[in-house]
């Protein structure tokens, strides 16, 4: 299978001496929906900046669909569509102008550009706003406009750098659906996000960057399988005065009608209910306390920080 993106030993040292990337290796297969996760300042945006020519690399190689950016960057760039973290269009232009201009920078003639601009603005719910000044669009509309702009040249690799940041849940869900559809149609997608449930539900593979290093690069399923414990929250039918003495698991009474329990993967959840039945406790509803990937992410970042401290 062709690699949509292949990064080898990529290093970036900024002029102030900051080593943002410390020789990372990364490979994203064609057709993948890939999550690139990491804390703020971990190096995600630097990596994306290098891929999209907004940041000069210090050393290493980057290939996009086998095209080395040092050999033929224009061709490599023609394969990429990018949705950046921050708004980066002229707010004095209209959505139509912004998308049409972007098509023009890729050499697409105005007839085709107009057709595509209409298609993507319609699909992203912006067609009615096509002639409004972009400054007047809402935050969610601006983000969707950047997606339309990134798609107008039909990129084979779409990079989304926190596309749903600050977007309300309804629009976020519709953006997820749209992006998933784009992926199903064959476009490789790299997503960075702080909403880890987004990565968990959308992405097939995940890499975690911390402090300029890739500390994990595997499939989402494999990563989740490493989760050793989960926390469940139980909403009770009747209030409790005190925490009953349960035989297994770590139980906490959060308030009179809410219980929390930590259980290991081996225990399974059947045991919870048998203990609840033994104590005549009726449960109204049950849910995971935290997102599973979020838990793993935090564990990994913590252990990576611990290792670093030990080395120091």
């Amino acid at each position: 299978m062709t690699a949509a993106l292949k990064i080898e030993n990529l290093e970036k040292v900024y002029t102030n001496g900051l080593r943002a990337l410390k020789g990372i290796d990364l490979e994203v297969n064609e057709g993948d929906f890939f999550a690139l996760l990491g804390k703020n300042g971990a190096g995600k945006s630097t990596a994306i900046g290098i891929i999209s020519s907004l940041v000069n690399k210090t050393s290493g190689t980057v290939k996009i669909f086998d095209v080395d950016i040092d050999q033929n960057f224009p061709l490599a760039k023609s394969y990429i569509g990018i949705v950046p973290q921050e708004i980066n269009f002229s707010v004095f232009e209209t959505p139509m102008q912004i998308v049409m201009n972007q098509a023009g920078y890729y050499g697409i003639n105005s007839r085709i550009a107009r057709e595509r601009a209409q298609r993507y603005l319609e699909q992203l719910g912006l067609w009615e706003k096509r002639n409004d000044i972009s400054r007047e669009l809402s935050g969610g509309m601006k983000r969707r406009l950047m997606i339309a702009r990134a798609l107008v040249h039909h990129p084979r690799l779409l990079i989304l750098d926190e596309p749903t940041a600050g977007v309300d849940i309804e629009i976020r869900r519709s953006m997820w659906e749209f992006i998933s559809r784009i992926n199903q149609q064959g476009t490789t997608i790299i997503l960075t996000t702080h909403y880890l449930e987004e990565a968990e539900s959308l992405c097939k593979n995940v890499a975690i960057i911390d402090n300029g290093n890739v500390i994990e690069n595997t499939s989402t399923r494999e990563l989740l399988s490493r989760l050793q414990r989960e926390i469940y929250v139980l909403d009770l039918h009747q209030p409790l005065d005190r925490l009953p003495e349960f035989s297994r698991g770590k139980w906490r009474l959060v308030d009179s009608t809410t219980l929390e329990v930590d259980i290991s993967k081996e225990q399974g959840i059947n045991g919870i209910f048998s203990q609840l039945n033994d104590n005549h406790i009726r449960v109204q509803s049950m849910r995971n306390k935290s997102n599973r990937l979020e838990q793993l992410f935090l564990d990994m970042i913590d252990s990576s920080s611990d290792r670093k401290e030990k080395r120091l």
């Binding site: 907004l54 940041v55 061709l75 760039k77 707010v91 004095f92 050499g107 697409i108």
Partner: protein, 257 residues
């Protein structure tokens, strides 16, 4: 990119630039017309008759070519420096950066936009000058080629300013402290033959002197400088600025971390 695609990319940048300055025509096209009209009224109509003839021409007729060229210089320069810096500031320059558009096309696109504004303002000022002066044209080719080359040179200068600028103040420093003094001392209002010999020599170090004199030659057929020297200097400066800008752009100076 194929040539046809490069052409589309170039036209896109030019169209975007022209749309930008025509959208804000109250800020880009009207002020230079008002300023130059004031020059015509004050220096040409009120003070001019007291000065008398200059190099055998009415003072008003003598200053018109210089004032037209001054508006071309300031507007070509300002358009590119402010537009490019705004693109950097708003980060909309990234739209072009991430695309396969070659650096030379980005440079030419912005420069063409600046030239378009400079020449358009020059044309409007020329029309206004017809109310104050009977313009005669001595050599159309010289007049058109000098206006074109001057707009090119200062658009290239504006681009370099835009590349180096890190804050809005940086965009106005060069026009205020370099461009305006050089333009005023470049022989718009006087012939350098009126100056003492030492200051005539100093004036020859001012590149704008060559442009104004060549342009005046196009209208009146008089010049303090030989035409070939003027063309050589304007073209040489343009080539050097183009190459420096291209090199800076390829390295990502001011636009890539």
């Amino acid at each position: 990119m194929k040539w046809s695609q490069i052409w589309v990319a170039y036209l896109t940048i030019v169209r975007k630039e022209i749309t930008r300055f025509t959208r804000i025509w109250q800020q880009t096209l009207i002020p230079p017309v008002i300023t130059t009209s004031l020059y015509f009224v004050i220096f040409g109509n009120l003070i001019g008759p007291r000065i008398g003839d200059m190099e055998g021409y009415r003072y008003m007729d003598f200053i018109v070519p210089g004032l037209i060229l001054m508006s071309v210089i300031t507007n070509s320069y300002a358009n590119v420096s402010s537009s490019f810096f705004s693109s950097k500031f708003q980060r909309s320059i990234e739209e072009i950066q991430v695309s396969p558009t070659p650096s030379s096309v980005i440079l030419l696109g912005y420069v063409t936009g600046g030239m378009a504004r400079g020449i358009l303002v020059g044309v409007v000022v020329t029309i206004v000058s017809l109310f104050f002066s009977k313009l005669s044209v001595h050599n159309v080719f010289v007049m058109l080629s000098i206006i074109f080359l001057t707009a090119l040179l200062f658009a290239l200068g504006g681009f370099m300013n835009g590349l180096f600028a890190r804050k809005f103040d940086d965009v106005s420093i060069i026009p205020t402290f370099v461009l305006t003094p050089l333009t005023y001392l470049g022989g718009i209002f006087y012939s350098i033959r009126l100056l003492p010999e030492f200051w005539q020599g100093v004036s020859h170090a001012n590149p704008i002197l060559y442009m104004i004199n060549a342009f005046r030659y196009g209208f009146l057929g008089i010049s303090d400088i030989s035409l070939s020297t003027s063309y050589t200097i304007i073209i040489a400066f343009s080539v050097v600025l183009f190459l420096i800008n291209l090199r800076l752009l390829n390295k990502g100076y001011g636009i890539r971390s």
